[in-house]
């Protein structure tokens, strides 16, 4: 690993100012992605700006109408939070399936999202609950929908220097299910992952690792939401729309064909489970 300047800003503004001073500066949160890339020589930053001292909101806050998760909350915190487990169990499950316990104790939800892998495990549950991300440039804040945050492989809506500060999740009585398929049961990255969510008889379907970003499949949702009664034939139609929309690639974790088959099988299963239809 090449040497760099290490900066511990004490405010978000200070962090952003430092970041903007060069073209090759990086924010550090848990480090479980960044430091791997630095060790491999893929990234050679001039400055590392440690966000852990920068006064970002921490932890998980339960408010009357929303839940707020600080960007620096670790995946372990989310996995083990009794409140998250009760209210958004599929998010706790997604967090608990990312990497190993050693990784989850350091890796942050903000890092997982800003790294913007199409297979990011925490992305599909957050898109499904229509979470919003609070982004800060040190002066102004703006909110962006989780779904619109992801712009491509490793690309986000963040402008230069802007950082993810907090995640806002509306409280709702909806029910969701997260599913992740990986080559081995634990630790591995997702071959596919997905969240299917149902609130007030409306469905949301979000598929990961099958497109340049995690993808919400509105056509399939509408198919289900318009129907008076949900039966197996309708679920199969919705699953076919999902398969039509996704554009998986073939890589070391599985072929495009295999991914489509996985998605078909499990999106059918998940919708069936939420709709109370045997599939």
């Amino acid at each position: 690993m090449e040497n760099f300047e290490f900066i511990s800003p004490i405010t978000i503004k200070g962090a952003v100012n430092q970041y903007k001073k060069g073209a090759n500066n990086y924010y550090l949160a848990g480090g479980t992605d960044l430091i791997v890339l630095m060790r491999e020589g893929i990234l050679v930053p001039e400055k590392i700006i440690d966000l852990k001292t920068a006064g970002l909101p921490s932890g998980i806050k339960k408010l009357k109408t929303e839940i707020r998760i600080g960007a620096l909350a670790t995946l372990s915190e989310i996995e083990h939070s009794s409140f998250i487990r009760k209210e958004i169990p599929f998010l706790a499950e997604a967090a608990g399936k990312l990497g190993s316990p050693l990784t989850r104790n350091r890796a942050t939800i903000g890092g997982n999202l800003c790294n913007a892998s199409p297979a990011a495990d925490t992305a599909t549950p957050l898109i499904a609950v229509e979470a919003k991300f609070i982004l800060s440039d040190g002066k102004k804040e703006r909110r962006v929908k989780a779904e619109e945050f992801f712009k491509g492989v490793k690309q986000t809506d963040l402008k230069k220097g802007e950082l993810l500060k907090e995640i806002v999740i509306p409280r709702s009585a909806g029910k969701g299910i997260f599913y992740k398929k990986s080559r081995i049961k634990l630790v591995d990255l997702a071959t596919v992952n997905m969240t299917v969510y149902r609130a007030k008889k409306k469905y949301r379907i979000v598929i990961g690792a099958c497109h340049i970003t995690p993808l919400r499949i509105r056509a399939a949702e509408e198919k289900l939401n318009k129907a008076k009664k949900i039966d197996l034939a309708l679920i199969n139609d919705a699953a076919a729309l999902v398969i039509k929309t996704i554009k998986p690639i073939s890589d070391m974790r599985g072929s495009a064909e295999y991914r489509k088959q996985l998605v078909k099988t499990h999106v059918t299963r998940l919708i069936g489970e939420l709709a109370g239809v045997e599939v």
């Binding site: 290490f6 479980t32 060790r39 440690d50 190993s100 104790n105 350091r106 630790v187």
Partner: protein, 162 residues
């Protein structure tokens, strides 16, 4: 950049001069002489470098020494009593859970943390807890047995103290 920092390791403050690009693992091993934690993969996948960081096990190969200032760090050296082995270490020996030994310090650090928060883990909980610690020799069966045995012994010794 280089910097003088204070690292709190095993309850002792160590004043060290470090380079910005040195990992916590490198500083523990090369500057503090604490060589229990090992570098296996260097990418946070094998767990040989596990230390208890701020109360939870973490891969010290992916932590910069410079970000560890002010954090309580516990290594296997700090878990091992001065004049005898820790019950977890003894259970690993008794159950044949050590072959080449390279993964053992990380395994024991992870086990120590598991049994602290969950003194009576199920086999599934053990497997999940050590899922980030790879062993290429034992096939894990003896390691899981050793962890169950360590849990029994720790419970017994706790019972005796009451």
């Amino acid at each position: 950049m280089s910097k003088d920092i204070t690292l709190n390791v095993n309850g002792i403050d160590h004043h060290v001069n470090i380079q910005g690009n040195e990992t916590l693992l490198k500083v523990l091993r090369d500057k503090l002489g604490l060589t229990a934690a090992k570098e296996g993969c260097g990418a946070g996948e094998c767990g040989a470098c596990a230390v208890i960081y701020n109360g939870s096990p973490a891969s010290s190969c992916l932590i910069l020494a410079i970000e560890a200032e002010g954090v309580e760090i516990l290594t296997l050296e700090g878990i091992t009593p001065k004049d005898h082995l820790h019950p977890i270490q003894q259970a690993f020996i008794d159950k044949g859970a050590v072959q080449c030994g390279f993964c053992t310090p990380g395994m024991i650090v992870t086990t120590y943390s598991l049994l602290k928060s969950n003194p009576d883990p199920t086999e599934e909980e053990i497997k999940k807890a050590i899922s980030g610690n790879l062993c290429r020799c034992t096939g894990y069966v003896q390691i899981i047995e050793a962890i169950r045995e360590a849990a029994r012994r720790l419970k017994r010794s706790k019972g005796r103290r009451k």
